[in-house]
Subunit: 199 residues, 2 copies
């Protein structure tokens, strides 16, 4: 690609560092910027800098926010007796988009992962334990069902059990609308184990 | 998505305006920027602005370049008797990446498209005619085989025929390595029409 002007090549490199963006997509994106109006390019550049300058982590739940506490923590309509624990802000967003949960959140900032050198001290766990002492009745663990996620769930449920709060986790089972024959075995086993009464 | 901080939502909007970037990809990209170091984000923002500030069009071939004439036009090793006509800089790059063409290029900046209000005057055609008078022996039309591309080829070949240069176009036929049974009919017809002697 040495034929490309350096500034285009630099932008392609910069874009292709992002997840899910290959060299070809990055090239198409860079040419889009090249053809776009100057205002649009300036706005994109500003948006990138704004994200770095304006986004903080809520001091209560560690969610990303432009104010502290975040809009969820300061919302008087949220149920303060429930805390849903998630790995990161994107998982929080996924649950929030269901519009079905009205409690608070707690963003761990990852999961315990000995192989990657991430221990309990690297996560927002101490804060979670403090928060669970303040009138919380239920902590819902909504971590991803990876090995590290399940280790973290075990660790958290042990720590939280000493605080006298109910600890639950998201149900595993068949995704709604999918065909049973296409489900993987682990999911089917979990779906069988977690079977519920219908009558 | 109203739950997202405004600066993140703005960045997602900005990214998703680019071709091939959906809402989900844009979200993943915006969260990548959020997690990335400040330096990396600043570099990306600068790269965007640099593309707008430093890229010009070569006054000879209209290719994108950081200097004028561009590196191809000023390269003494290129064959100045051949000009390959392409729609845009990405098409030029595709041909250049084959490392099989040593002539010059001419970037039209699009194709004639009455439906989109693009006529010959909106393209770099006058320049091409001027250039073809200066010792050029062959003009290779390498436009995309859309209806507008073929209309433009017809138009250019008529204009160029008055200049006494040879006008050729890229061969149509079966892509190398593909199975004949999967070729579309138009491609097969072109491949038959363009059949070549092997003995």
């Amino acid at each position: 690609m040495s034929i490309l002007p350096k500034s285009i090549a630099d932008l392609i490199d910069s874009f292709s560092a992002m997840p899910g963006v290959g060299k070809k997509s990055a090239k198409r994106m860079a040419f889009y910027v090249l053809k776009a109006g100057r205002d649009e390019a300036v706005n994109m550049a500003k948006a990138i800098i704004n994200v770095k300058d304006r986004i903080y982590h809520c001091s209560e739940c560690h969610n990303i926010a432009e104010n502290d506490p975040c809009n969820i923590c300061r919302d008087p309509k949220r149920d303060r007796t429930q805390i849903c624990v998630v790995e990161d802000a994107m998982d929080l967003l996924a649950i929030e988009n269901t519009a079905n949960y009205r409690g608070l959140y707690h963003v761990l900032g990852g999961v315990i992962s000995p192989l990657n050198g991430i221990g309990p001290d690297n996560l927002n766990i101490t804060d979670l334990l403090h928060r669970s002492e303040k009138g919380v009745k239920e902590v819902i663990l909504a971590l991803n069902s990876t090995r590290d996620g399940e280790t973290t769930e075990m660790f958290l449920s042990k720590m939280l059990s000493t605080k006298g709060v109910k600890v639950t986790r998201l149900a595993h089972g068949l995704p709604v609308g999918t065909n049973l024959e296409f489900a993987d075995e682990t999911t089917l086993i979990r779906a069988l184990e977690g079977r519920t009464n219908i009558l």
